[in-house]
Structure formats: structure tokens, C-alpha cells
């Protein structure tokens, strides 16, 4: 079976949709967070495959940036979740509705 751009993009879309469903449906903040990372990586995959099949390096350079920023973001995000858990003794989104009018 020949694996071309089409197949890579299909995998990327599937990963993205899985991540999206996770964000919308899961209740645990940590799981949502992981799903978010999944969506980021789906985007990374799409960028890399475009880069590879178009013989240009721009996409790969962008992916390096995304990975770096995502690493920093994970550090901050996890710290926030831990702080929230210490404060509320819960990491479930249903409990976090104090912004509601």
C-alpha cells in the first residue's frame, strides 16, 4: 500500500477529531488537557507531512516552534491544574462554574 499525503492527512484529521471529542466530552481536567495536546500534535503531523511532500522546510521549522511552546505551556498548565486541585480538592469541570452569572 502506498502511503501518500492523503493518508497522512487522514490520520491527522482523525487525531484532531479524537482530541476534540476528548475536550468536549471528558470531565477530568487532566484528560481534557491531554486531548488538547493530541489536537496540537495532529496539527504538527499535518504540517510535517505538507513539508515533506512539498519539499520545503518551513513546516518542519514551525513544528519545532510548536513543540517548544507546547512544552512551556504544559509546564504552566499542569502547575495551574495542581494549584486548582489544591484549592478545590477536585479536578472536574462541573465543579468549576464560579464564573457563571
Amino acid at each position: 500500500m502506498h502511503v501518500g499525503l492523503h493518508e497522512y492527512l487522514t490520520v491527522s484529521i482523525l487525531l484532531f477529531c479524537l482530541g476534540l471529542l476528548g475536550v468536549i466530552l471528558r470531565r477530568n481536567l487532566l484528560m481534557i488537557y491531554m486531548s488538547l495536546e493530541l489536537m496540537l500534535n495532529a496539527a504538527n503531523l499535518a504540517l510535517v507531512s505538507f513539508s515533506r511532500f512539498n519539499d520545503r522546510l518551513d513546516g518542519q521549522v514551525l513544528v519545532f516552534f510548536i513543540i517548544t511552546v507546547a512544552a512551556a505551556e504544559v509546564a504552566v498548565g499542569l502547575a495551574l491544574i495542581v494549584a486548582l486541585y489544591r484549592k478545590r480538592q477536585s479536578a472536574h469541570v462541573e465543579d468549576l462554574t464560579s464564573m457563571k452569572l
Partner: protein
């Protein structure tokens, strides 16, 4: 814009116009605390204006080669309005009257208002009024004139209501303002109509347009003319809008002299003369009969008034009726001539009355006075001269101007108006000398009259100056100037003796009947009032006298008709505003916004994932429209 030496001292008219305005501004902003400084600024501004007018006329004569000086002011589409000054015989003469007679009144006010707490405010208002009046006089287009017209309304409101702590003064000020507004409404409609039909507001352009094509106004010429006349009806207090003028006597006496003798009420007549070319024969007929009727009505009312100022006020109404009648008889020359002489002798009468009122410690009822001849000799003589001039005694100024109007009626074969005019001349003499005999002759009718005193020199000197002009006003060539202004015919100046007897050769019927009317009126006044302690007329005339005393019940009539109608319209408008505008229009928008807000509020669940879902949904919708459609 102008060739080099077309007009000398071109800036002078601007200075004359804006001096009183800057005086009003300086007084209001800086010197309200100092009464003396304020009054001197105001007097200085108007006297300087008078001097500058004289210089300008000396340099340019009464008819400068170029009669306008303009600054472009407004240009919207094809509406071009200049901020311009019209400088011809008519406006220069009026400027002389306004600054000259007005200046005398300002100086007099310095004495009359000496005890008043708010003298600074008084002089600020006087200066503002002078500015507005000069604006009307010098305007070269309808729009500028209308603005000044309204400014006169405002400043007269301020002056009539000067003693606003008295409810009657406040009411009188409101009445004057609102009645004038009624006339102004018609005036504005007339101006818009003229602009719509002729496409210009400049007097000169309008005149040349109508000269080129006298039918340019078409079928609506009469209506346009009568609408313009509405403005004069309000300002010059013609029937049926005459009711405000007598009430306006609530203001201080110098205000009465300024507003009701020399300036504001003259504005209407001046405007009619300025725009005479707009009126066709039918409109002029209506104007003439309204003027004649007003003159008769006011003269009849004046006979039975007992307040010294009200008698003179109704006399003013009656004389204004004369002038409007003259305009209606296509005689702007006698109208403006009578306006000029009337400015002298009526200002004189008002100021003399003010002197009497001050001497009597603010008593205005003539039946409380009597025998003031001994106590107030100067006022006695000036009042006598004013009364004689008003009654039209040869060779005082009033004779010549009134005779001009009567002769005009004869020339136009309008014998009804002529008879009316002669009859009113008799009535004028009668009520004037009724007032004169009761106030100055006979017995003292109250203790206050026995203790009356003559006024200070600052008040009597303006009286003497005005008396001088009341006497010689008919003989110094004013009529010739006006005649030259309204028709291009140049006539050789007549000799002094010829001028003196000119009316008798020109129209012997008018002159002799006018003098006869004077003699009859004087004889009647003498026989009934020379020694009267009370008024003998009510017993003789019965119900008619009561009707005259009550001003023919016009106030009551308006109270019963116009005011309920007005209240009804106001109620309908209130209903419309409350239910249609407020309820339907504003209420629907407000309710819709409120409902929308309440519904959108439900979307704010506070649930993170709902937000995420809506966000994704939105992206999906966007993608659908961008990619698929």
C-alpha cells in the same frame, strides 16, 4: 471684491454693529460687580456707534456707491448666504435712529436705574438689544435678518422681564416672547417660500429678480407676502397679535421707550419697507386694512386707560397701525418718515412719563397725579412738546409725517382709510391731552403729587435733546431722503419756507382735515378733563367705556379660544408622544433589546465544555460557508 475706492471706511459699519455686542459680553463676563463701570461701557458703546455712523455718513453720504459689504458665510448646495451689511439710505437712517435715540435712552437710564441693584445686568441686556436691532437694520439678506429678529425677541424678553421677581413682569415677558414667536413662525415660512420660489435670500438679488420678472412669485405671491407680513404683525404688534405690547409695560420705563418707541416695534415696519417689492396689490390691501384697524382699535382703547405708560403704549400701537397702513397704501416714504418722527416724540413721551413716574415714587395711575406743572417744569414742557408732535400740530414733526400718510391715502383713492386716519388723528389728540391735562394741570389728586420733584439733569438733558428733534424733525429733510431712497427721482431741495407749507399745497384736504381733527380732539379733551378729578367719560359712554377700559376683552377672548385650543393640541401631542413615540417606537426597541439580552443570558452556563462546544460549532459553520459554499 470691490474696486478700491468704492466705499470709504468700509470697516466702520462692522464696528458699529459689534460694539454693543462686545459691550454686552464685557459687562456680563467681567464687570457685573461694578454698576457704574458697566453702565459707562454700555453708554460708551452706543454713543460711539452714533458718532461712527455720523462719520460714515459724512464720508460716504447717505447712498454709498456700493451698498453692501459682505463676508461669505454659508454655502450649502445652491443656498449661498452672505454675512453682509446693507448700507443704503434706509439702513443708515435707521442706524442713526437706533444709535441716536437709543443713546439718549441709555444716558437717561443711567439716572432712571440709579437705585436698581442689578443695573449692570440691565445695561448688558440693553447693549445686547441694541446689537440685535442693528443686526435687523443692517442685514442684507432674509436669513441674517431673521437671526437678528429672533435675537431682538430674546433680548426684549430679558428686558421686559427685567424685574422678574414680580410675577406680572415674568408673565408679560413670556407673553411678548410667545406672541412674537407666532408671528415669527409665519415669517420663517414666508422666507422659506421666497427662497423656494426665487432661489435667493439676498434683498438686492430678490429685487432684481422681481424687477426682471414681476410674475416670478406666481400664484403664491399673495400668500408669500402675507406670511412675511406675519413677522411684522408680531414685532410691530398689529391686530390680532397686538396683545403683548401693552403688557410689556411691566419692564422699566427706559425699556418701554427703547423697545416700544424707537426700535423693536419699528422693526416690522422697517422690514416691510425693505422688502416692499415682494408684495403684490392684494397683499398690500390686506396690510393696509389690518394697519388701519389696529390704529382705530388701539386709539379707542387708549381713551379709557388710567396707567400713564399704558396710554402711551396703546398710542404706540395706534401709530404703528398708521405706519403699516401707509406701507399697505404703497407709501414707504410716509411710513418710514412717520417711523422716524415717531421714534423721536414717542421716546420723548415715554421718557417724560418715566420722569413723572420717578418723581411720583413709582406711582403710575394718572388719577393720583395732577398739577405737576409746577413741580416738574422741564418734564412738563418736554411732555407738552411730545404730545403736540404726536397730535400732529403744525409745524412740529408729527404733523408732516402724519399728513404724508393721510395724503397717501387720498392719492390712492382709499377714502375709507383716509376717513379712518382723520378720525384716529382726532382720537390721538383726545387721549394724549386727556393724559396731559390730568397729569400736569388741575388739582393735586393725591399727597404724593404734592411732593413730586423734578428729575436729575442726566434724565432731563436727553429729554431736551429728544424734544428738539420732535419739534424740528419734520423740517430737516428726512422725508426727502426717504423719497430719494424709494424712487430714483431726484428733486431739488425745497427752501425752508416752502418745506414749512408744503403739505398745504401738496394735499390741502389731508392737511386741513388733520388740523381740524386736532382742534376737535383738543377741545373735547379740554372741556372734559381740564379740571376733572375723576373720569367723566364712563358716565357718558356707558358700556362702550367699560369695553374700552377692558381692551375690548381681547385677553379674555384669547383666554377663552386660543388657549383651550392650544391646550387641546398640546394634549394630543402629549398623547402622541407618550403612546406612539415613547410607547410604540421606543418601547418596542427597548423591549426587544431586553428580551434578546435575557435569552442570550441563558447561554452563559459557566460550563467550560459548553463553551468549547459552541466554539467548535461556530468554527464548523464558518468552515462550511468558506469551503462548501
Amino acid at each position: 471684491m470691490f474696486p478700491a475706492q468704492s466705499m470709504k471706511y468700509e470697516t466702520l459699519p462692522w464696528l458699529i454693529l459689534f460694539l454693543p455686542l462686545s459691550s454686552a459680553a464685557v459687562i456680563t463676563l467681567f464687570t457685573l460687580r461694578s454698576k457704574t463701570v458697566s453702565s459707562l461701557i454700555s453708554i460708551g458703546a452706543i454713543v460711539l456707534g452714533f458718532v461712527l455712523t455720523c462719520i460714515f455718513i459724512a464720508a460716504n453720504s447717505f447712498h454709498p456707491a456700493v451698498a453692501e459689504t459682505t463676508v461669505s458665510w454659508l454655502a450649502i448646495g445652491n443656498l449661498n448666504v452672505d454675512f453682509g451689511l446693507k448700507l443704503d439710505t434706509l439702513s443708515l437712517m435707521m442706524t442713526l435712529i437706533v444709535t441716536g435715540v437709543g443713546g439718549a435712552i441709555h444716558i437717561y437710564s443711567y439716572g432712571y436705574m440709579h437705585e436698581d441693584r442689578s443695573r449692570a445686568r440691565f445695561f448688558a441686556c440693553m447693549s445686547l438689544f441694541t446689537f440685535s436691532m442693528l443686526g435687523i437694520v443692517l442685514a442684507n439678506n432674509f436669513l441674517m435678518m431673521f437671526i437678528a429678529w429672533e435675537l431682538v425677541g430674546v433680548s426684549s424678553y430679558l428686558l421686559i422681564g427685567f424685574w422678574f421677581e414680580k410675577p406680572s413682569a415674568g408673565d408679560a415677558a413670556k407673553k411678548a416672547f410667545i406672541t412674537n414667536r407666532l408671528g415669527d413662525f409665519g415669517f420663517l415660512a414666508g422666507i422659506l417660500m421666497i427662497w423656494g420660489l426665487l432661489g435667493s435670500l439676498n434683498f438686492g438679488e430678490l429685487q432684481s429678480a422681481l424687477t426682471a420678472n414681476s410674475a416670478a412669485l406666481g400664484a403664491s405671491a399673495t400668500i408669500a407676502g402675507l406670511l412675511i407680513f406675519c413677522g411684522a404683525m408680531g414685532k410691530s404688534a398689529q391686530f390680532p397679535l397686538h396683545v403683548w405690547l401693552p403688557d410689556a409695560m411691566e419692564g422699566p420705563t427706559p425699556v418701554s421707550a427703547l423697545i416700544h418707541a424707537a426700535t423693536m416695534v419699528a422693526a416690522g415696519v422697517y422690514m416691510l419697507c425693505r422688502t416692499l417689492f415682494l408684495f403684490n396689490h392684494e397683499a398690500l390691501q390686506v396690510i393696509a386694512y389690518i394697519g388701519g384697524f389696529t390704529a382705530l382699535l388701539a386709539a379707542l382703547i387708549a381713551i379709557q386707560q388710567n396707567d400713564i405708560k399704558r396710554i402711551i403704549a396703546y398710542s404706540t400701537l395706534s401709530q404703528l397701525g398708521y405706519m403699516v397702513m401707509a406701507v399697505g397704501l404703497a407709501g414707504p416714504t410716509p411710513a418710514m418718515f412717520h417711523l422716524t418722527t415717531h421714534a423721536f416724540f414717542k421716546a420723548l413721551l415715554f421718557l417724560s412719563a418715566g420722569s413723572v413716574i420717578l418723581g411720583m415714587h413709582h406711582e403710575q395711575d394718572i388719577w393720583q397725579m395732577g398739577n405737576l406743572r409746577k413741580k416738574m417744569p422741564i418734564t412738563f414742557w418736554t411732555f407738552l412738546l411730545g404730545a403736540l408732535a404726536l397730535s400732529g400740530v403744525w409745524p412740529l414733526s408729527g404733523f408732516f409725517s402724519k399728513d404724508g400718510i393721510l395724503a397717501q391715502a387720498v392719492e390712492q383713492h382709499s377714502y375709507l382709510l383716509f376717513a379712518n386716519g382723520v378720525f384716529i388723528a382726532g382720537l390721538t389728540t383726545f387721549y394724549t391731552f386727556r393724559l396731559f391735562f390730568v397729569v400736569f394741570l388741575g388739582e393735586e389728586k393725591s399727597p404724593a403729587a404734592a411732593q413730586a420733584h423734578e428729575s436729575p439733569a442726566v434724565m432731563t438733558l436727553p429729554l431736551i435733546a429728544l424734544a428738539l428733534f420732535s419739534v424740528i424733525g419734520g423740517l430737516i429733510g428726512i422725508e426727502g431722503l426717504y423719497r430719494h431712497a424709494f424712487s430714483s427721482a431726484v428733486e431739488a431741495p425745497a427752501g425752508f419756507a416752502a418745506a414749512l407749507f408744503e403739505p398745504f399745497t401738496h394735499s390741502p384736504l389731508a392737511a386741513s382735515l388733520g388740523l381740524l381733527a386736532f382742534a376737535i380732539g383738543l377741545a373735547a379733551a379740554w372741556s372734559w378733563y381740564a379740571n376733572a378729578a375723576t373720569d367723566p367719560l364712563p358716565a357718558k359712554l356707558g358700556g362702550l367705556a367699560t369695553a374700552m377700559k377692558n381692551k375690548f376683552y381681547f385677553d379674555e377672548l384669547y383666554e377663552a379660544t386660543v388657549i383651550p385650543l392650544h391646550d387641546f393640541i398640546a394634549a394630543v401631542m402629549d398623547w402622541f408622544d407618550r403612546w406612539i413615540v415613547q410607547g410604540a417606537c421606543i418601547g418596542l426597541v427597548r423591549g426587544g433589546t431586553d428580551l434578546g439580552g435575557r435569552m442570550l443570558r441563558l447561554m452563559q452556563t459557566g460550563n467550560l465544555q459548553t463553551y468549547a462546544f459552541m466554539f467548535v460549532f461556530g468554527v464548523a459553520v464558518l468552515l462550511y460557508f468558506v469551503l462548501v459554499k
